[in-house]
C-alpha cells in the first residue's frame, strides 16, 4: 500500500484540504503515481474491494481513480463495490486501454468519466479537476488556522483568541483567502480576481478599503497579521522566507 499526503494548499478553493483519492491497483502504474504526486493530490492505493473498505479514511474517500487496462475483472468488480451501494462513491475516473472501449457499454453507472491509457499527465489533471468541479466532492471544508486566528468555512465563522469576529461577507471571504495562504504576497489585482471574482467593477482600491476594515475588526493587537508589502500588495502572517521584507503593517 502506498500512502501520500498533500503537502500544501493547491487548486481551486484554497481553504479546503482533501482526503486521499482511492487508487487501483496496488501498486499503481508508476507514471500515474508520479503524475498524482506532481499535481499534489493525496492518494492511497488498494488491491481489492475489501481493502477499499478497510482502508477507507474516517471522512470517506475523496474520489477514485481505477486503472482497468491490466486487470479489467478486478477493476470492474471494484467499481461495482464502490458504486452499487446506497451512497455511491463519486467522482470515479476510469482509465482504460484503447481496445477496451467496448467494455464500457452498459457500464455507464460505474464511472463518471474515463481516460485512455497511456495517460497524458495534463489530460489526467484536467479530468480530475473537472470531475471534482462537477461533483462538488473532494472539497470538504476544514478549519483554517493561523496563530490566534481560526476560520470555519463550514459555518462561515471566524474567531481571534476564541472571540468571534463580526465580519461582513466580503471581509470574511478576504480573510479566509489570506489566512489560507500564509506568507504569500498577493497583489491587489490578484486579490480582486480571486476573492471578488469577475462580476466586481470597483478597482484595486476596494481591496485597500476592505483590508482597512479587516484590520480594524482584528483589533490593534492582531491588525499586524495583515502586512502591507509596499508597492506590491498584502501578505498574511510571516514571510515564507523568514525575512521581514516589508515595513511595519499599516
Amino acid at each position: 500500500m502506498s500512502w501520500n499526503v498533500r503537502a500544501d494548499w493547491r487548486g481551486g478553493d484554497p481553504a479546503h484540504t482533501m482526503d486521499p483519492l482511492l487508487v487501483f491497483p496496488d501498486p499503481p502504474p508508476p507514471e500515474l503515481a508520479q503524475c498524482l504526486d506532481l499535481d499534489g493530490w493525496a492518494w492511497k492505493s488498494v488491491a481489492d474491494p475489501d481493502a477499499a473498505m478497510s482502508e477507507e479514511p474516517d471522512e470517506g474517500w475523496a474520489g477514485a481513480i481505477v486503472v482497468a487496462d491490466t486487470d479489467p475483472e478486478g477493476a470492474f468488480a471494484l467499481c461495482r463495490r464502490l458504486r452499487k451501494v446506497e451512497m455511491p462513491l463519486t467522482p470515479l475516473l476510469l482509465l482504460v486501454g484503447g481496445g477496451q472501449l467496448a467494455d464500457l457499454e452498459l457500464r455507464d453507472d460505474l464511472f463518471d468519466d474515463f481516460c485512455l491509457t497511456p495517460v497524458r499527465p495534463a489530460e489526467l489533471q484536467a479530468r480530475i479537476e473537472h470531475l471534482f468541479y462537477r461533483t462538488g466532492r473532494g472539497t470538504r471544508p476544514e478549519l483554517v488556522e493561523y496563530g490566534p486566528l481560526a476560520l470555519n468555512p463550514e459555518t462561515y465563522q471566524a474567531a481571534v483568541d476564541g472571540e468571534p469576529l463580526d465580519l461582513t461577507y466580503m471581509e470574511y471571504e478576504l480573510l479566509k483567502f489570506l489566512a489560507a495562504h500564509p506568507g504569500k504576497v498577493f497583489t491587489r489585482e490578484t486579490l480582486l480576481s480571486r476573492v471578488w471574482g469577475y462580476d466586481y467593477y470597483g478597482g484595486a482600491r476596494t481591496v485597500d478599503v476592505h483590508i482597512r476594515r479587516l484590520r480594524a475588526k482584528l483589533g490593534e493587537e492582531h491588525a499586524g497579521l495583515i502586512h502591507t508589502v509596499r508597492s506590491v500588495g498584502y501578505r498574511f502572517g510571516q514571510s515564507r522566507w523568514g525575512v521581514q521584507a516589508s515595513g511595519p503593517a499599516r
Partner: protein, 452 residues
C-alpha cells in the same frame, strides 16, 4: 474556480443564514431610506429570514415619504446580503443583525421611490462609462444637552477647533462612536472637535458611493444612539446655533478607471487630469441645480449664508476654503489620493440622492468635456457683488425656494433622480417652504416688536 454572480449571491445568503444561526441572532433589522433620507427599519425573526432573503418582504409603502403611488402601494424590501452586519450595540443576550434593503415593485423591477435604487442606477451609468466613484465625507454634528425645542440648544462644552478637553463628555462619546463605527465596517480617518462649541467632526475613509451612502445612514444612527444612551442629544441639523458655523458634510470625490485614479495626470503641471477638470466644470455648471438635493432643508441655507467653512459662491480653487470645489494637494507620492472636495453638502441630506446628483453633474462635465474656468485666487467673501459678477462667479441659491426653482428647471437632476422622486421632492419641499414663509420667527419678534 471562478464564482458566478449566482454562486456569489447564494454564498452571501448562506453566510447570513449561518451567521444568524451560529451567533444566535434573535432579530434582523431590515433597513432602508425614505426620499428625505430618514432611516426606516422593519424587524423580522430568524425564522422568516430565509424566505425574506429569497423573495423579499412585502409591505405597504404608502405611509413612507415618497413611497406612495396612486394605484397600488405594496412594495418588496429585498435584503442586500452583502451588507449584513451584527449590530454592535445590541444586548449581548439578544444579538441583532442589520441588513440594507433595495426596494422593488412586486414584479421585481426597481421601485422608483427608493433612493438606494436611484444611486445604484447612477453608479451603473458611471460604470458603463468606465468609472467608479469613491466618496469620503467629513461629517459634522453637534452634541446638545437635550432636544428641547422651546429654547436655544445648550452645547455640552465651549471648546474649539482641535481642542483637547480633559474629562470632556463629548470626546468620550466620540471615542465610543468611533469604536462602534469600526465594528460596523465604517473606518474613520480622523475625528476631532470642530470650531463651534460642542461641534464635532468624523471623517470617513473613502469607499464606493453606494457603500458610503449606507455608511452615512449607519453613522447618523450610531452617533444619535450613543448620545442618547449617555443622556445627550446629537444633531445633524445644518445650522442649530446663531452666530457660529453650522454643520457641513464636505465630500471628497474621486473617479477611478481600470484601477487607476482618473483625476491624476502625471504630465499635467498641477497633476490634475482633463477628466478631473471636466468633472469639476460639470459640478460648477450644475451646482445651483443640485443644491436643493445636497442642501434640502430651509435651515441648510442659514449655514450657507453664514459663511465660515460653508461656500456661498460657485467657484473652485486649490487652497481657498471659500470655494465650492476645493482641490486638496495630494501628499508627495500619493497620487492615488488625488481628489476634489465639494463643500456645499450638509449632513441632513439624503446621501443616496446627494451622491447621485454629484456624480451625474460631474460625469456630465466629463461627457461634454466642459472647459474649467480659472481658479478663484481671492477670498470671494471680500469681493463686491459687481466684482464677483465680473469674475463670472455665481452665488449658490440663497434659500430653499430659489434652490427648488433651479432644480425644477434641471433636466440633469430630473434624469438623475427619476421622475417619481424628482416630482415628489419638489412638491414636498415647496410645501415645507410655504409653511416656513408663514412663520413668525424670533428674529422678527426681537427686531420688530419693540419698534413697531
Amino acid at each position: 474556480m471562478e464564482k458566478t454572480s449566482e454562486d456569489r449571491l447564494r454564498d452571501q445568503r448562506d453566510y447570513v443564514l449561518r451567521t444568524v444561526e451560529e451567533r444566535g441572532v434573535r432579530l434582523i433589522r431590515l433597513w432602508f431610506t425614505d426620499v428625505l433620507g430618514r432611516h426606516k427599519s422593519v424587524a423580522i425573526s430568524p425564522a422568516e429570514l430565509e424566505t425574506v432573503l429569497e423573495e423579499g418582504l412585502q409591505f405597504d409603502g404608502s405611509a413612507i415619504d415618497g413611497f406612495s403611488r396612486i394605484q397600488e402601494s405594496d412594495v418588496l424590501a429585498r435584503p442586500d446580503a452583502a451588507t449584513f452586519e451584527l449590530l454592535p450595540w445590541a444586548d449581548p443576550d439578544e444579538p441583532s443583525g442589520t441588513i440594507f434593503c433595495d426596494i422593488t415593485n412586486l414584479d421585481g423591477t426597481p421601485f422608483a421611490g427608493d433612493p438606494r435604487q436611484v444611486l445604484r442606477r447612477n453608479v451603473e451609468r458611471a460604470r458603463a462609462a468606465g468609472f467608479e466613484m469613491f466618496c469620503a465625507p467629513e461629517v459634522e454634528f453637534f452634541y446638545f444637552a437635550d432636544s428641547d425645542t422651546t429654547s436655544a440648544p445648550v452645547p455640552l462644552d465651549q471648546a474649539s477647533y482641535f481642542d483637547l478637553t480633559t474629562a470632556d463628555v463629548a470626546s468620550d462619546l466620540r471615542k465610543q462612536t468611533l469604536h462602534m463605527l469600526e465594528a460596523l465596517s465604517i473606518p474613520v480617518e480622523y475625528s476631532f472637535h470642530e470650531d463651534s462649541p460642542s461641534q464635532h467632526e468624523i471623517d470617513l475613509q473613502y469607499t464606493d458611493a453606494l457603500a458610503m451612502a449606507d455608511s452615512i445612514m449607519t453613522l447618523r444612527l450610531a452617533v444619535k444612539k450613543i448620545a442618547m444612551d449617555r443622556g445627550v442629544y446629537a444633531t445633524f441639523m445644518p445650522k442649530p446655533l446663531n452666530g457660529v458655523q453650522g454643520s457641513g458634510m464636505h465630500t471628497h470625490l474621486s473617479l477611478f478607471r481600470d484601477g487607476a485614479n482618473a483625476f491624476h495626470d502625471p504630465d499635467a503641471e498641477d497633476g490634475l487630469s482633463q477628466t478631473a477638470r471636466a468633472f469639476i466644470a460639470g459640478l460648477l455648471h450644475h451646482a445651483r441645480e443640485i443644491t436643493a438635493v445636497t442642501n434640502q432643508l430651509v435651515n441648510s441655507y442659514k449655514r450657507i449664508n453664514e459663511g465660515y467653512e460653508a461656500p456661498r459662491y460657485v467657484s473652485w480653487a486649490r487652497n481657498n476654503r471659500s470655494a465650492l470645489v476645493r482641490v486638496p494637494i495630494p501628499k508627495p507620492g500619493k497620487v492615488d489620493s488625488t481628489r476634489i472636495e465639494y463643500r456645499a453638502v450638509d449632513p441632513a441630506c439624503n446621501p443616496y440622492l446627494a451622491f447621485s446628483v454629484l456624480l451625474a453633474a460631474g460625469l456630465h462635465g466629463v461627457e461634454e468635456d466642459l472647459e474649467l474656468g480659472p481658479e478663484a485666487r481671492v477670498n470671494l467673501y471680500d469681493l463686491s457683488r459687481v466684482e464677483q459678477r465680473d469674475l463670472g462667479v455665481d452665488g449658490l441659491p440663497a434659500n430653499l425656494s430659489e434652490a427648488l426653482d433651479e432644480m425644477e428647471e434641471s433636466t440633469l437632476v430630473r434624469d438623475a433622480l427619476g421622475d417619481h422622486i424628482f416630482e415628489w421632492f419638489l412638491r414636498n419641499k415647496r410645501a415645507e417652504w410655504s409653511e416656513y414663509q408663514r412663520q413668525v420667527t424670533p428674529f422678527e419678534l426681537e427686531t420688530y416688536l419693540p419698534n413697531w
